[in-house]
């Protein structure tokens, strides 16, 4: 096989490969969650893994997020490397007490004696007509909590490679997989493996504007950047990849070059991660700014079910393009 040989697969396949690799590499790793076994995962990310690894390591759980997340914390404290899957971020709120009051605080509460090497995966975001109880983007909330790391893989490479790095981390790591990306097709190197976490990535370079995004909005930003380039507006496109800790150096350096920042975030605007990014730019790069920082976020409503209304509520390419134009040309 050639070294940079590429092959086609979906985001879902990449997630599954990451899971398989982790299960093969380390016998302490196991996966548990609702429907991860016999059903193959609610988004089919763990399809066929039960047959390959058996019920000890691919464990179906009752519908009780708090219980099985707590069990994951216990297993992690006991030396295992659990991967807990929660169907969607909305349901993770049932486990918020376990995540925030236990997983995120144990190292602190035990005076540094007990760390919790737990990984929690969950689907996030809208765009699949799953309505107001399955479609929100709450990763920004989690990014508020000290003691955990918050990742959001937007590319096949990251979907494939972030999991292993997360398992190596001594502390709890939450991985948010944008549900709308599971069927996304793309190319991945045959020998793709673990990737570094904690750093943002510059996916496109330009001098006029910094588009700062992550998750499903990253792809909308890239699409917008291509349209803008045809009009002569060259943009940096930054994939944040990690929402906590925020790699602020990356976007501050970009703003120092372009002097304009547009943040695209599927979360609600008020109190969002985009607000945090905007504040940091204001605090640390104020004199680099040539235009006010702008944000494109979801409408502050429960996510509508109807397709046209859901589209209207989510950030879209056209609004990114229009806002960018206004910021550059006045």
């Amino acid at each position: 096989m050639g070294q940079q040989e590429m092959r086609k697969l979906t985001y879902r396949d990449a997630v599954r490969e990451g899971l398989r690799e982790a299960l093969q590499k380390d016998e302490r790793v196991f996966l548990m969650g609702e429907d991860v076994g016999r059903y193959g995962g609610c988004f089919a990310a763990s399809k066929d893994l039960l047959e390959e690894f058996g019920p000890e390591r691919i464990r179906d759980t009752p519908l009780s997020e708090s219980t099985f997340t707590g069990a994951g914390i216990g297993a992690a404290l006991g030396g295992m490397r659990p991967i807990v899957e929660i169907m969607t971020v909305n349901f993770s709120l049932l486990a918020l007490d376990q995540i925030m009051n236990n997983a995120a605080t144990y190292l602190h509460m035990s005076g540094g004696l007990f760390n919790v090497p737990l990984v929690i995966r969950m689907a996030t975001g809208g765009g699949k007509q799953l309505a107001a109880q399955h479609s929100h983007s709450l990763e920004g909330w989690y990014a508020h909590i000290p003691g955990i790391k918050v990742l959001c893989p937007a590319t096949l490479e990251d979907a494939r490679g972030m999991l292993w790095s997360a398992l190596l981390d001594p502390d709890p790591v939450l991985i948010f997989e944008p549900a709308v990306l599971y069927p996304m097709e793309g190319e991945l190197a045959v020998d793709a493996g673990a990737v570094e976490i904690g750093k943002a990535k510059l996916l496109r370079e330009g001098k006029d504007l910094s588009l700062i995004s992550y998750g499903s909005c990253l792809h909308k930003s890239l699409e917008a950047a291509a349209i803008l380039a045809e009009e002569g507006i060259e943009t940096d496109v930054i994939d944040l990849r990690t929402l906590r800790p925020l790699d602020e150096k990356s976007f501050l350096a970009s703003v120092a070059k372009t002097h304009r920042a547009l943040i695209v975030d599927e979360g609600w605007r008020s109190g969002s991660i985009s607000a945090e990014i905007s504040a940091r730019i204001m605090e640390q790069a104020f004199y680099q700014l040539d235009a006010p920082v702008e944000r494109i976020c979801s409408a502050e409503v429960p996510m509508p079910y109807a397709k046209h209304m859901e589209e209207a509520a989510l950030p879209q390419v056209v609004s990114i393009v229009e806002t960018a134009r206004r910021m550059v040309h006045g």
């Binding site: 001098k207 150096k249 501050l252 350096a253 120092a256 070059k257 002097h259 605090e283 640390q284 790069a285 104020f286 004199y287 680099q288 700014l289 040539d290 235009a291 006010p292 206004r326 910021m327 006045g330």
Partner: protein, 373 residues
């Protein structure tokens, strides 16, 4: 450099006659000053300048010849653009981007005379660049520096420690001794004492150690003093410098006075007071200078053995590690005891290892008789 041109005083005017200059080269002018008289078919007009600066050269002399509109009549030194439209209503703050404002300030550009082309009519970098006739945007912009925190204090503290410790390591030939001390008697006695005390009044092991250091110094006074001008000057009082780490970084070793003459309760109270005042910056001058020896206790951090650097002009430093349970052989029997490793760094100019050994021996013995401390 700005140009002063033959103005168009009406849509139908294509040329005019420069009748007179009201200024000479070198005159300072400001926005609105009348600097020339021009005659047209419609009459004689006084012409204002819209640039501030100094008249550089008068290029056209007054005369009967008609001069086409747009001809440069004079140049005005100072980079000021012509304001054609008032940018903002009086009293309204100009919309200027932070980056544009910064560049304009660096290049002494008057923002009031520029027209903004940025979002909401704001002045942006491009407008300033246009005014100064150069592009600065393409220059490599360094990544923003790490935000600086007010660390003058910390930097100064570091410099002071650096100076003292460099001097110490350069000039003092250190010798090092260490001994293990069985702390079971001391800790048992302490536990008994503390049982009768309120939490606030409880004694910590470190005061026992400090008092024991003072007792040992009474027996070996040669370690309590200053090395000045090639001589050891012994101290009569036993003032012990105690190393206090500051939360914002760095450390100070203020003196705890007359340790040998104070009760353990008094020492506990004085030590608490000293640490509080050290951390809030309320030490007295004498406390900074009159210690004859220093004790540094790094036991809370789990340090087992401290290899100290003497604080000049002192001649010794006692290091206390963590009291931890260790196997302890005594009279052919093996047991588990709480053990403290005490070290001594001594100035070999002022004394020898023999004294140091006597000192550590006395320290260990004193801690075997806690009731007499």
């Amino acid at each position: 450099m700005a140009d002063f041109i033959m103005p168009s005083l009406g849509a139908d005017m294509t040329e005019g006659i420069l009748v007179a200059w009201r200024v000479e080269a070198g005159d300072r002018v400001k926005h609105g000053d009348i600097i020339a008289e021009v005659e047209t078919e419609k009459g004689l007009f006084e012409i204002e300048v819209f640039d501030a600066g100094v008249v550089d050269r008068l290029l056209v002399q007054p005369g009967p010849d008609k001069v086409p509109v747009g001809t440069v009549l004079a140049t005005i030194a100072d980079k000021m653009a012509v304001a054609t439209v008032p940018v903002s209503e009086p009293g309204e703050r100009l919309r200027v981007s932070p980056a544009a404002r910064k560049l304009a300030a660096e290049r002494h550009i008057d923002l009031n005379r520029l027209e903004g082309t940025g979002p909401q009519g704001s002045l942006c970098l491009a407008d300033i660049e246009h005014a100064i006739g150069e592009t600065v945007k393409e220059q490599a912009v360094p990544a923003p520096a790490e935000p600086k925190k007010p660390d003058d204090f910390k930097a100064g503290m570091r410099q002071a420690i650096a100076a003292a410790m460099s001097l110490s390591n350069r000039e003092i030939p250190h010798y090092y001794l260490a001994t293990d001390i069985d702390m079971s008697r001391a800790l048992n006695w302490l536990a008994e004492q503390n049982r009768e005390r309120s939490i606030k009044q409880r004694l910590l092991p470190v005061v026992l150690s400090l008092k024991a250091v003072a007792r040992a110094l009474e027996k070996v006074p040669e370690l309590n003093g200053h090395w000045v001008d090639g001589q050891l000057q012994l101290k009569r009082e036993i003032h012990i410098g105690f190393a206090v780490a500051l939360r914002k970084g760095g450390l100070i070793t203020p003196a705890l006075h007359d340790v040998n003459r104070k009760s353990l309760d008094q020492l506990m109270a004085d030590l608490g007071d000293l640490i509080t005042r050290t951390r809030t910056g309320k030490l007295r001058g004498s406390e900074m200078t009159d210690a004859g020896i220093t004790v540094t206790s790094l036991g809370d951090l789990g340090v087992q053995t401290v290899y100290g650097v003497i604080y000049p002009p002192q001649v010794a430093l006692v290091g206390l590690g963590r009291i931890r349970e260790r196997p302890w052989a005594e009279q052919g029997l093996l047991g588990v005891r709480p053990v403290l490793t005490a070290t001594l760094a001594g100035d070999h100019r002022a004394g020898d290892g023999h004294q140091g050994g006597q000192f550590l021996d006395a320290l260990g013995r004193a801690l075997q008789e806690p009731e007499s401390l």
